[in-house]
């Protein structure tokens, strides 16, 4: 029942997104918000992975920006320094990131809670330091510029408008894939028992394998987002892959709601609009606001803002329905 209702809500969101995409060609929208929308799309790709990871494994990754960075640098270095086709570079980056995530998932998932968080944080920072210090390959703290645009046949993604469709097309595909995975038998079972591993194992669900699948998937999503990111900006530097960047992904996931596929769009969009449009006008309050969001949401709505609001609305409605039914 729950899954069905969620499904319907999801279709509503899809319809809305399609509307949004069709809305885009309007001159005013195009002129003002294309860049913003591209970043929202990229951040959604990052966030959806973490939403699922946190929701289904009950664990948090504090190094998610590193996967984003690996994809970004693979694309940048291969396509610029070695003249590899950008699409191929993107694929290699995603495959490498996925393989890396797969390998580290064995030792990493032997840890949990505080230690897992610290391990992901440490790993993320090591990768960040490598980006900074392997200057011969990565350009060091100043990064690399002049990265080519993506192109398909003779069609070059050389305007923000074209990249907007590319990013959102891929983003929607990722969201649909994610939805299929969480609707699979393992996903439903895990959600039904709120991620309790013991309970899942007892009904014959291989929860370890499911966790690993989500972890690798989220790494691949992040890597693809990183590739698109560098082909959009045509620049890559280490700063967007540091600790604060990983925290930002957590902020978006927390706003989007844990275990929620479609909440990721909400989280990414809310934070991106906040950071790029609202806070920019109000000076340097960004860190304060993000810190407050993390604390307040986790204290009062541990399931995340989007999911929390949804559940709150459902409860309200239930009360309303009951009252109606009483007399």
């Amino acid at each position: 029942m729950l899954a069905k209702v969620r499904g319907r809500a999801a279709y509503a969101v899809i319809v809305l997104l399609l509307l949004l995409v069709m809305l885009a060609p309007f001159e005013w929208f195009l002129a003002r918000y294309t860049t913003l929308m591209i970043f929202i799309g990229l951040n959604t790709m990052l966030t959806v992975g973490l939403c699922l990871l946190m929701g289904y494994t009950g664990q948090v990754s504090l190094g998610h920006a590193a996967f984003f960075g690996i994809g970004a640098y693979f694309s940048a270095i291969l396509s610029k320094t070695y003249d590899v086709n950008p699409w191929l570079a993107m694929g290699i980056g995603a495959a490498a990131t996925g393989a890396f995530a797969y390998v580290i998932s064995y030792p990493i998932f032997r840890l949990r809670g505080n230690y897992l968080a610290m391990a992901t944080l440490g790993l993320g920072l090591i990768i960040y330091i490598l980006f900074r210090e392997l200057g011969d390959y990565t350009g060091g703290p100043d990064g690399m510029y002049g990265i080519p645009y993506l192109s398909a046949g003779g069609f070059v993604f050389d305007t923000p408008f074209k990249r907007y469709f590319l990013v959102w097309g891929l983003c929607l595909a990722m969201l649909l894939i994610s939805q299929n995975i969480v609707r699979s038998r393992s996903g439903r079972a895990l959600r039904a028992i709120h991620g309790s591993e013991a309970a899942a194992e007892s009904v014959g669900i291989n929860s370890a394998q499911f966790k690993m699948k989500i972890f690798v998937l989220s790494a691949v999503y992040a890597s693809l987002a990183g590739s698109l990111f560098v082909h959009h900006l045509r620049f890559v530097g280490p700063q967007p892959f540091g600790f604060l960047a990983s925290v930002m992904v957590v902020v978006m996931a927390v706003v989007g709601g844990l275990a929620s596929v479609w909440g990721a769009i909400f989280g990414a969009a809310a934070i991106r609009i906040l950071s790029d449009k609202v806070l920019l006008e109000f000076g340097e309050l960004d860190l304060i606001v993000y810190g407050l969001i993390l604390m307040v949401v986790m204290i009062f709505l541990p399931q995340g803002l989007f999911v929390g609001l949804k559940e709150g609305y459902a409860r309200l409605r239930l009360r309303y329905v009951r009252r109606e039914a009483e007399p």
């Binding site: 009950g58 391990a119 440490g122 090591i126 860190l287 993390l294 986790m298």
Partner: protein, 285 residues
């Protein structure tokens, strides 16, 4: 020698992690921010009020200890039933929040409070050492001794230890776990601030130094196994020395800028080697 100096700071931060973890079972991801606050506030006080050094530094530590208490009361206690992951995110939120406030109300620039006693190097067995380095090491050792005495001989200290050993049993004999948690947060904040106060004149400080300090302190505490303040102290000195030895060796293409990565690699190794036992502990906890 440089290793012992930086190791002392890691030890002070590691102490904070250990105290909070053993009393409450929480890893406080905002621990490094206390170091930042110590450095920044001491600079602000010394720069703007003209107080003499000692009262200014004591005032700094008192302010930061209050911040620690407020952090516990506002954020941790309101989320009593929160899961481990929620608590991690809450303390990270606190860390980012504190950092943002510091950058907003003071400065986002690097600052350096004055040395405690000049910057004339002292010659010592052919090596040169800055007096500030001696201050750092001396303060850390003194703080260790004070803490040990506090934990061993005072009622409050004994209550803290009781809580660390068994929270439920401590409750049965009338020790209020929430008061103890409050004390542990203030204590951890005070030690972090002390570290920040003594190290800032040597390395300069800014609103953003907290993350690295927190991580190094965590490594120190992890080497010590979160068992006792003394273990964290040993852990801190160890990681400091390992870092400075690694930098002194010529690794070819690996420049000394990899220094920060060394502590992180040590962290991962410790976590992996101990993963089995740590997991068991968490389950019991």
């Amino acid at each position: 020698m440089a290793g012992v100096t930086s190791g002392s700071i890691y030890a002070l931060v590691g102490l904070g992690f250990t105290v909070i973890y053993s009393v409450t079972g929480i890893i406080n991801f905002a621990q490094g921010e206390f170091v930042m606050l110590g450095g920044m506030i001491s600079y602000i006080i010394l720069d703007s009020t003209g107080l003499p050094t000692v009262p200014a530094l004591l005032l700094t530590i008192a302010v930061v200890a209050t911040v620690g208490a407020v952090l516990y009361l506002m954020a941790i206690r309101s989320a009593r039933k929160a899961s481990v992951v929620s608590l991690i995110i809450i303390t990270i939120g606190a860390s980012v929040f504190i950092r943002g406030v510091a950058g907003e109300i003071w400065t986002r620039d690097y600052v350096r409070p004055p040395y405690f006693s000049g910057d004339e190097s002292l010659s010592f067995l052919g090596a040169y050492i800055q007096p500030q380095a001696l201050w750092i090491i001396g303060t850390t050792v003194a703080a260790m001794i004070v803490l040990q005495v506090f934990l061993t001989y005072t009622v409050m200290g004994k209550a803290l230890r009781a809580c660390a050993i068994n929270r439920a049993a401590a409750g049965l004999v009338g020790i209020d776990a929430r008061v103890m948690a409050l004390i542990s947060f203030s204590l951890a904040a005070a030690f972090g601030a002390l570290g920040g106060v003594v190290v800032a004149p040597l390395t300069t400080t800014s609103y953003s130094v907290g993350v690295m300090m927190g991580l190094k302190g965590f490594v120190a505490a992890a080497i010590g196994g979160f068992r006792s303040p003394f273990a964290a102290f040993v852990g801190g000195i160890t990681i400091g020395i390992v870092e400075s030895l690694a930098v002194a060796i010529d690794w070819g293409p690996f420049s000394s800028a990899y220094k920060d990565a060394i502590a992180l690699v040590v962290l991962l190794l410790i976590l992996l080697v101990r993963s089995g036992r740590l997991a068991a502990e968490e389950r019991v906890g």
